[in-house]
């Protein structure tokens, strides 16, 4: 895909790649204006020389750049053709030349500046922050939609493809693609929020206990009182949950599908807000405290693909520290430390979607650990993992000092990590006690013992 090629180009090394993105944007604009206003072939020739020098200095593959820029020719060609047909051949050539040269300038800018740096520069040049955010989300979600479309295409091919389907069926397929993309996008958005995105000015986040959330001595790691939550469709997902977790403690959370476990987890960092109260390390989970809360508690989601949303492993792990206000180098340093901790430092430069399920889970965990939380919530961490990967994950988690809430169906895994367990039933905690007692009482061992 074109943007993937550009992504590779823009991460090259040259004086142009290293230059300040704001300067590059302004220089590109200046060059475009010069091309637009060039009164004669000599002036246009000077502009062309400047652009070609830029391409050479950036060490971009010249043939590919020229080929790519020539995509603009059919569009400009239409107007040139009309002009030529009206008897003004000189002007037609002039118009084509200017269009082609302008496309080269745009390509030079995009080929030497990674999109995040480009957007950062635009923000400094007074482009509204909201517009920049929308561009970022849109770019990210382009991958989501194309990934979902690919899944649907494969599924359809396995069952005889969409061939021969009419307009209505095609529109229906588009609608299904839309709904699936939306649900995936919501999961990714939750993961982004969990790691500090959009939680306000995190650099000025209140320290624990500030902003009206007084620290009590020996605060509990997690405390929930009478938590209730009803989904928009009327389903009562949580019906009065009381829960406590002590510092450094690990608790397993069992319960049937749909019993409220994940809904409960999403209340712990404010992704969902129901009735009742939740506090993490003594900080109330409220809108004004979200930045502070999300520093304290890290959620590893069931689906690692939803959690890994950046183009490379290192960028993904550094996403959280950056949101906490760490500078570029500091964020990367913290990301490297976290990756070393989970044994994935060798994959730093790889794209997350090229990793195995076990590797993805480790990287997702690193992304959370890089934020240095005091509480870890793991939602079905063993899903998709083979037995050796499950053993490796258990050993890794066992070595981490944080308090842990492990939502799982895997009784053996839970036994390895936790002494205590709670059992969810119809949105309530039906039992709380030693893990073996709970497993025995609810027959939660797959061997039926």
């Amino acid at each position: 895909m074109h943007h993937v090629v550009l992504d590779t180009w823009s991460r090259g090394r040259s004086p142009l790649h290293g230059a300040d993105a704001r300067l590059k944007v302004l220089a590109a604009l200046g060059l475009l204006v010069a091309i637009a206003l060039a009164p004669d072939p000599v002036a246009l020739g000077c502009c062309a020389a400047a652009v070609l020098t830029g391409i050479a200095a950036a060490r971009l593959p010249a043939a590919k750049v020229l080929l790519r820029a020539s995509y603009v020719l059919p569009f400009a060609g239409t107007f040139a053709l009309v002009t030529a047909l009206a008897g003004d051949a000189n002007r037609a050539v002039w118009l084509l030349g200017k269009s082609f040269l302008s496309a080269l300038v745009a390509l030079l800018l995009a080929g030497t500046t990674p999109l995040p740096a480009l957007l950062h520069a635009l923000e400094h040049l007074y482009v509204p922050r909201f517009l920049i955010d929308v561009i970022q989300y849109l770019y990210r979600y382009l991958f989501v939609v194309s990934e979902q479309a690919q899944h649907m295409r494969l599924a359809a091919a396995c069952r005889g493809s969409f061939g021969g389907a009419g307009f209505r069926a095609a529109a229906g397929a588009v609608a299904v693609l839309f709904a699936r993309s939306c649900s995936r996008a919501e999961a990714i958005h939750d993961a982004m929020l969990s790691r500090g995105a959009g939680a306000g000015d995190t650099t000025a986040a209140p320290p624990a206990g500030a902003a009206g959330a007084p620290i009590r001595r020996r605060a509990l790691a997690v405390e929930a009182r009478n938590l209730r939550y009803r989904y928009e469709d009327g389903t009562l997902a949580l019906d009065g949950v009381d829960f406590e977790l002590h510092t450094g403690e690990a608790v397993a959370v069992f319960g049937a599908n749909g019993s409220g476990k994940t809904t409960f987890a999403h209340h712990l960092n404010g992704l969902l807000k129901g009735e009742g109260r939740v506090a993490v390390c003594g900080i109330e989970v409220e809108r004004r405290n979200l930045a502070a809360v999300r520093r304290k508690i890290g959620i590893v989601f069931q689906d690692s693909d939803a959690q890994l949303f950046m183009p490379s492993v290192i960028e993904d792990v550094a996403f959280g520290p950056r949101n906490l206000g760490a500078g570029g180098e500091e964020a990367v340093k913290r990301a490297c430390t976290a990756l070393r901790l989970v044994g994935m430092e060798h994959a730093a430069a790889r794209a997350p979607y090229h990793l195995s399920a076990g590797e993805k889970k480790r990287v997702a965990l690193a992304g959370v650990l890089a934020m240095d939380p005091e509480v870890l919530v793991l939602d079905e961490p063993t899903t998709f993992l083979d037995p050796p990967a499950v053993r490796g994950l258990a050993a890794l988690l066992g070595s981490l000092p944080q308090a842990k809430i492990i939502i799982t169906h895997d009784a053996l895994f839970a036994r390895t990590l936790a002494r205590r367990a709670v059992f969810f039933e119809h949105g309530k905690i039906a039992a709380d006690g030693p893990v073996d007692d709970i497993i025995g009482r609810f027959a939660w061992d797959p061997r039926g013992e």
């Binding site: 550009l6 569009f75 800018l109 517009l131 939609v145 709904a179």
Partner: protein, 301 residues
Amino acid sequence: MHIPDGVLAPSVWLPLDAIALPAAGYAARRARRGFDDSRVPLLGVMGAFVFAAQMINFPVAAGTSDHLVGGALLTVMLGPAPASVVMTAILAIQALIFQDGGILALGANVLNMALIGVLAAWLPYRALAGTARRAAVFAAGTLSVFCAALAALIELRLSGVPMPQSAVFAALGVFAVTALIEGSVTVAVVAGIGRLSPKLVENRTEPRRRALAVVALAALLLATAGGLAACAWPDGLDSLLESTGAAGHARTLIAAPLADYQARISGALWLRKVIAGAAGVALAAAAVFALGRLAARRRSA
């Protein structure tokens, strides 16, 4: 539909950049106000969908092809201000990363597709959605593309791209077919999404503003039709004015305020055109703004 750099004259793209880009910034601030963060995924996915739809070219008439624009879909699903922002974001990514549409011509493309395209979808949708929802969505899709395309045509004509009458009529035919296809696709996709997730497409219109919407729509159509007339019969308007004797008065009226400035500015012709163009657009914008305020005050009184 995307105008590349190098085609529009500086006297056209410069005022359009000066007007459209701040207008898009205003839409962004307006959309941000009261924006619920939980709608971010919907906004992003809608944008990605429209982005993908704009890449699918379909044949329209002999040898020509066009693509979906998606302004109406965004407007119906998100509301006008977020739709403008998302469309601006799409156009910015296309210009910056894909070289589809120029960077200097971004103002023109934003005006055509993110402002006029969204407005021309929002007004009929708002006027009709209460009574005939499907027709409202169809009208939104059709008018959005038609008005956006006409605006592009007018900008090209103003830039001096020669347009014989036959070319204008051929272009009109292509636009009409594209607009009808866009209308049908928008209806089908909105209905499909409505079946799967009804709450995403619930009716958010306020019927009490219908009269204003109808008036604004009529003004928009008149403006584009007027522009079209100027494109198709560039000399017709002049001769009409001549025959009625209005041309002389009109020329004096238009020329008088700027005559002195023109004499003082010894710069290039394009600079004078830029100033005149910018002044014209600013006057039109001020008039529309004043009318809007007046209408709003009357309604609340």
